[in-house]
Symmetry: D3
Subunit: 132 residues, 6 copies
C-alpha cells in the first residue's frame, strides 16, 4: 500500500533497469527490495539516491558494520519502520549480534532521553566543548 | 541562560555531591560539564541519569568509540546542539578523526534523506526483512 | 482502530452536524473523511479546526495546488501517514501529476538531508541571509 | 562556531575548488554561503550534495518558486534555522512576497496541528484515499 | 532577529490592534510578548491563533496549571526554545514550583526514552490497549 | 512483529523474572504488557528502565493523573502509537475522562501549531521570559 506503484522488473525504464543491474552487481544478489521498486518511478531520483548511498556506505574511515549501526540508529530516531527493518537486516548480515542490537537500542533510547533533558533545561554549551 | 540554575560545587546537596564525586572518579577528571550542573537541581534525577549513562555507555558488546558515534548520530537526528558538541568531544577523546566525523555526518544526512523517502512513499516492508 | 469513536452522521451533536453540513457545502461532496468523524467527539475542536483550515487553505496569495503541495510536504516531514494520503488525494484532485508528486518527494527528502547537514555541522547563518 | 572549519577559497582542495567554481557559474554570483564552506571539509560529500541539489532544484514539472516554498516548509518542520533563512532568501529572490511568506508559515503551522490531531486520534486511512 | 518584523503598537493594522486589545483585556496586563508581535504581520493569522489559543487554554475539564504543564511538555518534545520559556513563565504564574518543573522535565525525558524503545523494538500494541 | 522476540514468562532469565515479579507486585496485576516482554531480551536494560519509570512516575510533587497526561502528550508529540495507547489506558485507569482526553489532544495539537509558528518566525525570547 505504498503511495506509488512498486515496479516489477518488466515495468522499468531503461535508466531504472540500468540502476537495478548495478544494485544487483554491487550487492551480489538478485533481490531488489521495495524501496528501490518504489523509487524506480522517478529514474533520476533512483540513480541519484543509489549512487549517493553506494558512495556514503562504501569504503571509508569507518568500518562497514559501524556505518550500518549509525544508519539504524538514525532510522530509529526518525521513526522509520521500513528503514529500521531493512538496515537492521543489513547490519545482521555484516555481523551484528542480537546483544549488539539490544545495546544499540539502549544507546538510542538513552541519547533521546538526555537530548530531551539538555533541550528542556536549555543547557549552555561548555567552553571546553567549543572548537578552538 | 539555562532554564534552571547551573549549580556550583558549593551549592550541591549531599546526594548531588556524591554523584559529582562518582563522575569525577569514573572519568578521571575534575571537570564537570554543565549538563550535570543543571540536572543537579533534582538530585534523584541526577543520580538516575548518571547511573543509567554509566551502564549504557560502559563495557558491552560494542566498542566505546562506536557507542559514542551512535550517540552523536542520534543527537544530530534530534537537533540537540549541546549533545552534538559534548558527545563529539567525547568521541574525539576516544579517537574519532576529523575524516570519521565528516563520514558520520554524511551517514546521518543520507539516512535522514532515505528515511523521508521511505515514509513519503509509504514503502511496505519486504517479507525478507521480517523476523522469522 | 482510532483512539476515539468515528462518529456516524446519526451520532452527531447539533453543533457537529452543523460543521459537517458546512464541510459538505464547501467541498461540494457528501463524503466526510475519518479525520472529521474522529474530531466530532469534541464539537468545539471540530468547529475551530474546520474554520481555521478553511481560512488557511482558502483564497490567498498562493494558488490552491501550491498550498496542498506545502501541506503534503509538511505531512511527510512529520511522518503522518493519514495526512500524506489525504492531502495527496486533495493535491491530485487539484491537478498534481504523478511526476510532480515524485518531484515533491525528492525535494522533501533532499531538504531533510541538507537540514541534517546544517544542524550536524552547526553552520552559522551568513550575514547575507539576515534581515536588514 | 560551526563544528568544523568554514573553509576560505585559499583552503580548498582542487576537488572542492572545482565544485565552488560550478556553484558560482550556476548561480551567476561570486558569493558562496557558509553551508558549502563547511561541507568543503569533505570534498566528495560537497560534490555529491551540490550535484543532487542542482538536479532536484533544477528544471522539472514544478516551477522554481514552488520548489523553494516546499524547501522552506520542510526546513520549518525540521526546525533548521540555517535552512529556513537561506531558503527563504532564495525564495524571495525568486519572487516570494512577504504576504506569501506569512501564508506559507500559516500552512506549515496548520499542517503541524492537524498532523498531530491525526496521530493523537490514530485516525484510520479512508478507503477513498488508498491507491486503486 | 526574527524572520519578520516585530510590530510595535504604532505599526498595527486596525484588525491586529483589536486582537492586541483583547489579549490585554483577557490577560489583565499591558505586556504583549514577541510571539504576537511577529504574528501581527498577518492579522487574520493573529486573530485565528489567538482565538484558538483562548478557547483551548480556557475553562474546560482540565485545570489551568495542568494545561500549561502539557503545553510546556509538548514544547520540550518539539525543541521550541521560545515556547519552553514563555509557557514555563505562564506555568510559574499559575503556581508551578521549581520541584514540579524538574519533575515535568524528568517525565518528558523518560517518555522520550521509552517512546524510542517502543519504536526501535516495534512493540505491537497489546489487545488490552485496543478500544473495545 | 516486533524486531525482537516477545518473551513469555517461561523464557525469562532470572534477572528478568525478578523485574517482572516487581512489576506485578507494584501494579497489583498479573498482566505484563508487550513493552516489557520485548525489553526482557536485555535484562539490565529491562531493570534500568523499570526502576527509572517507577521513580519518575511514583510519588512526587505532581499528582499521578497529571503525570500520565504529560506522558501521553509527549508520546503524541513523538508519534509513538504504542506509547499513546498504553499510557492513555493508564491515564483512563487513573480517572481521565473522554472529555479530558479530547482536551489533551487539543492542547497537544495547538502547542504543535504555535511551536511551529515560533520556529518559522524565529521569534526572539522576550526579556521577561529570561531567568533573573
Amino acid at each position: 500500500m505504498s503511495t506509488v506503484r512498486l515496479l516489477a522488473d518488466a515495468d522499468l525504464s531503461p535508466e531504472a533497469a540500468a540502476v537495478f543491474a548495478d544494485i544487483r552487481a554491487t550487492r551480489k544478489t538478485d533481490f531488489i527490495n521495495n524501496f528501490w521498486r518504489a523509487l524506480a518511478n522517478d529514474p533520476p531520483a533512483l540513480r541519484r539516491t543509489w549512487e549517493s548511498l553506494k558512495q556514503v556506505m562504501g569504503p571509508g574511515t569507518l568500518d562497514p558494520l559501524t556505518k550500518e549501526l549509525i544508519y539504524v540508529a538514525v532510522s530509529m530516531a526518525n521513526s522509520c519502520e521500513y528503514c529500521i527493518r531493512s538496515h537492521s537486516a543489513a547490519a545482521r548480515s555484516k555481523g551484528m549480534s542480537e546483544a549488539q542490537f539490544m545495546e544499540l537500542v539502549s544507546i538510542v533510547a538513552m541519547a533521546s532521553e538526555t537530548n530531551r533533558l539538555a533541550i528542556a533545561l536549555q543547557v549552555p554549551v561548555d567552553e571546553a566543548f567549543k572548537p578552538v
